[in-house]
């Protein structure tokens, strides 16, 4: 500026200085503002941000995974898109709910337009449009870019193996809440601690940042490792389904357990369902019958009676028992019968031939309380404590409330009821040297950080019988699968199998006794008998084609045992050459037995149409003689009325089967008879003690039935709890067998 006149130069300097001051002032203002924003008002702004940017988020942790014992995933949670809407925002954007619903329906198939329209029209800030959509649908919704409609991530429970172990796992609903099975019972662990905390969200409301997100335990529930072995479970389910279908049974369950630890390796039920879409299946197929259903076990409890007596020292192993040539009169009105006629049998033979009379005689040596205690000690009458909802403990009444016959019948599995799991656990006692293990289904629970929350080590509940006794009984039980035994179908090549068959008639509510055509076939045993690795309990409910436990349930035991032993790597021929030869003999015997059984079954089927044929038409060695026992079920001192040999035929037109009303009150008898179209004629008062025509006979519809009523008489000793005998009728029904079908 030296080219300017001095005075102008001075003014120019002044103006530039002024400009400099202005700019400095501007900078100062900016600095002041920076101070106020960053220091002075920063807490206010941060708090404001806290309010706007963060929201209290209820973060439900991702549901824990359920693994099998080897770490295979049985139930996992996966993130899927859920379409949600903010109806207010939609309205603010001026969108028509109906049109929007149509638009959404065009990309989400099966969307209910009316429901969605109603939801979108509501004055709420949140509405579900469709939960758990496919990624394609989610992308399509995002492309629509409807204001207020957004995608959110939700965890969906997924069962990669579909039906496998469905009843054990149960399932979780759309909100991730356990509804059945382990999912329900272990809900708290799987769900994890639901915490509310502040999280930073971005403009779309997605959680972007939170210190809590770094803590993995808030993100994931605890993982559960089951004792279930996926392979064995699969085998058990496959073989069970095959057996149920082959024998046209109603249902069935299989429990596979490691007797040394009490760990349940497989728990299979049929019918089954897919927990990925439980709504598509009938509620009865979702029931975990192995723990919720109690049934009369029949002969399978005989080894426990004998083991109990041996342990109590009331019998010796080499003692012989008078089997009364097939019938034993308990008292003047009750008789026990065997399907085959034996004179004297040793305990081993009693097990092998499944003699009711022999077992009853052994039980008699212990007395009522001895039998009751033995059964209780084996774990009957109480829940096993599996972590599954709805477990029943079965019914084993106190011996002081037993009826006359119970002392005898309970010894061979009638008048008490058990579950499959109880049966397997009790069999584990004999397999495991007399120790009762607590059955476990959950091996361990681990939190998201990998820390052990719960570690279920094998737990011995008690020594039920001495180890030597257990070995002795196990030895006796190997005869069941030996040549001539009832359970030869359960024998496994190369392994010694100890077990017991059971063929129980199911209780019939209509006739009040046992149903003639409804059987419950079972086989419970362990293998290898000399050092057991597996206890397998197989129960087939109401098989139609055959009914003997050895025929129906035995093969399931064999196939499951064979595959499971191979899977576990248990070497065959643990007994060396001798065992191999034994197995060879066994195979031969089994072939013959199978042919015989087939012929017997055919004979039985043919015999059904023949009115004159007696119940002895079957030469199945395992029939427990329930029919003989039925007569004994009458607890009242009325006329002893053993069921007459009734024709086995279908009722003709205009005919009806006369139900058994004995033991019923007049009112119950009236209802029962009316239901089948018969007219009761009552004589006397009290409880029905006799009827004519006899139960099981055919009567013309509308025909009169004479029913004799009598006031019941009680022994002073057998004081029945008042609450259990509110009415005489109910007292009478307590005597009736517990049923296999739970209400």
């Amino acid at each position: 500026m030296n080219n300017l006149p001095v005075e102008r130069r001075r003014w120019l300097k002044v103006r530039i200085a002024l400009l400099g001051l202005l700019l400095l002032g501007y900078a100062g203002r900016v600095l002041l503002r920076a101070y106020s924003v960053q220091v002075a008002e920063a807490p206010v702004i941060r708090e404001h941000v806290q309010r706007l940017q963060t929201r209290n988020v209820r973060l439900s942790p991702k549901r824990g995974t359920i693994y099998d014992r080897h770490g295979a995933e049985l139930a996992v949670s996966v993130d899927v898109d859920t379409v949600t809407a903010n109806p207010r925002e939609l309205r603010a954007a001026g969108r028509d709910p109906a049109a929007t619903a149509q638009q959404l329906a065009s990309v989400i198939r099966g969307l209910n337009v009316e429901t969605v329209t109603a939801r979108l029209a509501s004055d709420r800030a949140f509405a579900f449009i469709e939960r758990h959509v496919t990624p394609q649908q989610g992308a399509a919704v995002e492309r629509l870019a409807i204001p207020g409609v957004r995608l959110e991530q939700e965890a969906r429970r997924f069962y990669p193996n579909r039906e496998l172990a469905a009843h054990v796992l149960g399932f979780a609903n759309v909100d991730g809440e356990g509804i059945e099975g382990i999912e329900l019972f272990m809900e708290d662990s799987l769900r994890g601690p639901e915490r509310e905390f502040e999280a930073v969200r971005d403009r779309r409301g997605r959680v972007v940042y939170s210190d809590h997100l770094l803590d993995s335990t808030t993100q994931r529930g605890q993982d559960i490792t089951l004792t279930i072995d996926k392979t064995i479970q699969h085998i058990a389910e496959r073989e069970l389904a095959l057996a149920v279908q082959t024998f046209e049974a109603r249902a069935g369950h299989v429990v596979v357990m490691d007797p040394n630890t009490g760990e349940i390796l497989a728990l299979a039920n049929y019918p089954t369902y897919d927990p990925n879409s439980p709504g598509r299946f009938d509620i009865s197929s979702r029931r975990n019958r192995a723990v919720t259903d109690r049934f009369e076990p029949g002969s399978t409890v005989k080894p426990f009676t004998i083991a109990g007596a041996l342990a109590a020292g009331t019998i010796r192993a080499n003692q012989t028992f008078d089997c009364g040539d097939g019938s034993m009169v308990v008292d003047e009105e009750n008789t026990i019968r065997d399907s085959h006629h034996y004179t004297t049998l040793t305990p081993a033979q009693i097990i092998a031939f499944s003699s009711n009379i022999g077992t009853a005689r052994i039980a008699a040596t212990m007395g009522r309380s001895g039998l009751y205690r033995a059964m209780r000690r084996f774990g009957f009458g109480e829940q096993t404590g599996l972590p599954l909802p709805g477990e029943t403990g079965g019914v084993l009444r106190h011996y002081r409330r037993w009826y006359e016959m119970d002392a005898a019948t309970i010894s061979f599995g009638q008048g008490m009821s058990v579950t499959s799991v109880q049966l397997a656990t009790a069999m584990g006692v004999i397999a495991n040297g007399g120790r009762l293990m607590r059955p476990t289904l959950v091996r361990r629970v681990v939190d998201a950080d990998g820390a052990m929350v719960q570690d279920n080590l094998p737990q011995v509940r008690r020594q039920v019988i001495p180890t030597a006794t257990a070995r002795l009984v196990a030895d006796m039980m190997t005869a069941v699968t030996g040549p001539g035994g009832t359970g030869i179908e359960a024998a496994i090549d190369g392994y010694l199998v100890a077990g017991k068959t059971g063929t129980a008639q199911k209780a019939d509510y209509v006739t009040g006794g046992y149903a003639r055509d409804q059987w419950l076939a079972s086989f419970v045993g362990f293998v290898p008998a000399e050092s057991p690795r597996l206890v397998i309990s197989v129960v087939i409910d109401e098989p139609l084609i055959a009914h003997a436990g050895g025929i129906v349930a035995g093969p399931v035991f064999r196939r499951v045992g064979e595959a499971a032993l191979r899977h576990l790597g248990v070497p065959p021929n643990g007994g060396g050459q001798a065992l191999a030869e034994h197995s060879a003999r066994l195979r031969q015997a089994r072939r013959e037995a199978r042919i015989a059984a087939r012929e017997a079954a055919r004979a039985e089927r043919e015999g059904r149409g023949n009115p004159g044929a007696s119940e002895d038409g079957s030469d199945d060695s395992d029939v427990d003689g329930e029919e003989g026992v039925v007569a004994a079920r009458n607890a009242y001192a009325g006329t002893p009325q053993p069921i007459p040999a009734v024709a086995r035929r279908e009722p003709r037109e205009g005919e009806t089967l006369v139900p058994d009303v004995r033991g019923m009150s007049a009112r119950a008898a009236l209802i029962t008879l009316h239901r089948v179209g018969l007219m009761p004629r009552f004589e006397g008062s009290g409880v029905a003690v006799a009827q004519e025509p006899a139960p099981g006979a055919f009567g013309a519809v509308g025909a009169p039935v004479r029913v004799v009523l009598q006031r019941p008489r009680f022994d002073v000793d057998e004081a029945i709890d008042p609450d259990e005998s509110g009415t005489v009728a109910s007292a009478a029904r307590v005597a009736a067998p517990a049923t296999g079908a739970a209400p």
């Binding site: 500026m1 030296n2 080219n3 300017l4 006149p5 005075e7 102008r8 003014w11 120019l12 300097k13 103006r15 530039i16 200085a17 400009l19 400099g20 700019l23 400095l24 501007y26 900078a27 203002r29 900016v30 600095l31 503002r33 920076a34 101070y35 924003v37 960053q38 220091v39 008002e41 920063a42 702004i45 941060r46 404001h48 941000v49 706007l52 940017q53 930073v200 971005d202 403009r203 972007v208 940042y209």
Partner: protein, 477 residues
């Protein structure tokens, strides 16, 4: 110096030889320009280099997450900004070595002005590339040019040239004020057409401040402001998006999800930083919340990561730039240099402070970058070029020659005025071609009234010393 004055001097006694206006221009530069006696302002250069490096670092910090998301390469912006930085600093050094007097010529100034005008027209007619709702860019493949930036530099060139040329007629409304305001007005209108309200305001401010510095009557400036402000008000209220920006500025948190978003997030960033900052690279806002964190709102990331300390240092750096710039203006060899330096300083300083003001919510959103620090080749190159000019102006020069030359010029003008006073004014046609007429008309009207007495007085004093200067010039022709 004014070439035109020389060429239009028909009655000069020693002007027989040069008959064309080009003649003096081909004269050797060394003889025409004041001799450079020292180096450029080292402190200013160092500050700029520091700012550019700081910018590279901050751009990397602010953009790494975005770059990793969009380009799957966290270094995407870092690499580019580094290249721009090298090119920009190179440009600065080159321009610092070119004598600024070379631009003090009509054949340099007007082509620049016309080029800027043409670019603005191209963009205004929709030939540009639209970014963020405003067509402000021209894509030249290698680098995207923002015509508004070039227009600002062109205005500085033009005003410096014109104001120094008309140094004695500045108080004349028609000569010293109106043409400048008209040129600036056209540029502002073209900027508004883009729409680029910020650049329009910036051009207006540059013009007004340079006019004020040069010594225009304050009344004219106040009058212009009185006319302009209602128009600005109408412009703002008439444009919905500008209204929204104003609303967002008034209450950024009210509509945080909408317009106020950027400013609210920026304020949050500053607030998160506090006094010491969260540490470089640890900004949380840059990850998802603050859009354009590496360009217009990089100061917010500085505020968050380096806190009030960092912002203060950044601010001080720009204050230092402004101080050294104005110092260069004060010590410039001649008034052209002073105006140039003032304009460039204002250009850089205003932009920096305004950018920080926007980020801090002091002013409505403008779309201005933070010079040297924000990501972007166009901005960095233009700013570096501007500072290159400034650095050249800052070089000390041999002032005596300038003095002599200017005083000779003044003498000439005084003589001419004397002639006009003596009666030649009557013969001068009132309607001449615009450029030709100006000096004489100005001299006869404003200059005589305002400066006349003073000029004459000075001229009288200066007269004895004019002879050698004139002689030297004469010899060079």
């Amino acid at each position: 110096m004014s070439l035109r004055n020389i060429s239009l001097r028909p009655s000069a006694p020693d002007a027989a030889a040069p008959t064309t206006s080009q003649a003096p221009a081909v004269a050797p530069a060394t003889g025409r320009f004041p001799k450079v006696t020292g180096t450029a302002d080292v402190i200013l250069a160092a500050t700029i280099i520091a700012l550019v490096f700081f910018g590279v670092v901050m751009v990397y910090s602010a953009s790494a997450s975005l770059a990793a998301r969009t380009f799957e390469d966290g270094y995407h912006y870092l690499v580019r900004q580094s290249i721009y930085a090298v090119v920009g600093l190179g440009l600065m050094v080159v321009l610092a070595r070119i004598d600024y007097h070379r631009y003090q010529a009509s054949y340099v100034t007007y082509p620049i002005l016309m080029a800027a005008f043409a670019l603005l027209v191209v963009v205004a007619l929709g030939g540009g590339r639209t970014v963020g709702g405003a067509a402000r860019w021209i894509d030249l493949k290698v680098v995207r040019v923002q015509p508004a930036e070039i227009a600002k530099l062109a205005i500085i060139f033009y005003l410096s040239y014109s104001l120094s040329k008309k140094r004695d007629q500045l108080r004349d409304f028609k000569i010293g004020f109106l043409p400048h305001i008209l040129v600036a007005g056209v540029f502002m209108l073209l900027c508004l057409k883009q729409p680029d309200f910020g650049s329009a305001v910036m051009i207006g401010l540059l013009t007004v401040v340079l006019l004020f510095t040069a010594g225009t009557r304050i009344n004219y400036i106040l009058g212009a402001a009185a006319i302009a402000l209602p128009m600005v008000y109408l412009l703002i209220t008439g444009s919905e998006y500008r209204m929204r920006r104003i609303e967002a500025f008034v209450n950024p948190f009210q509509d945080r999800a909408g317009v106020g978003y950027q400013i609210a997030e920026s304020l949050i960033s500053f607030a998160q930083g506090g006094f010491w900052g969260v540490g470089i690279g640890d900004s949380r806002q840059k990850h998802a919340f603050l859009p354009e964190a590496h360009t217009d709102f990089i100061s917010a990331i500085v505020g968050e990561e380096l806190g009030l300390v960092g912002v203060s240092i950044l601010l001080c750096a720009f204050v230092l730039v402004v101080y050294r710039g104005l110092r260069a203006a004060l010590h410039a060899a001649d008034d052209y240099g002073t105006y140039l330096a003032t304009g460039v300083t204002l250009f850089v300083g205003l932009q920096a402070f305004t950018n920080l003001s926007v980020a801090l919510g002091l002013l409505p959103t403008k779309g201005l970058t933070l010079p040297f620090v924000s990501y972007g080749g166009s901005s960095l190159l233009v700013n570096c070029a501007a500072v290159g000019l400034l650095l050249n102006v800052s070089r000390p020069r041999d002032v005596s020659a300038v003095l002599a030359r200017t005083e000779a010029e003044s003498t000439r003008r005084a003589n001419k005025n004397d002639k006009v006073d003596r009666g030649e004014a009557d013969s001068a046609p009132p309607k001449r071609s615009r450029w030709g007429a100006k000096p004489s008309v100005a001299a006869s009207t404003e200059e005589t009234r305002a400066h006349g007495a003073r000029a004459n007085g000075k001229g009288g004093r200066a007269r004895p010393s004019t002879a050698p200067a004139r002689r030297s010039r004469g010899s060079s022709v």
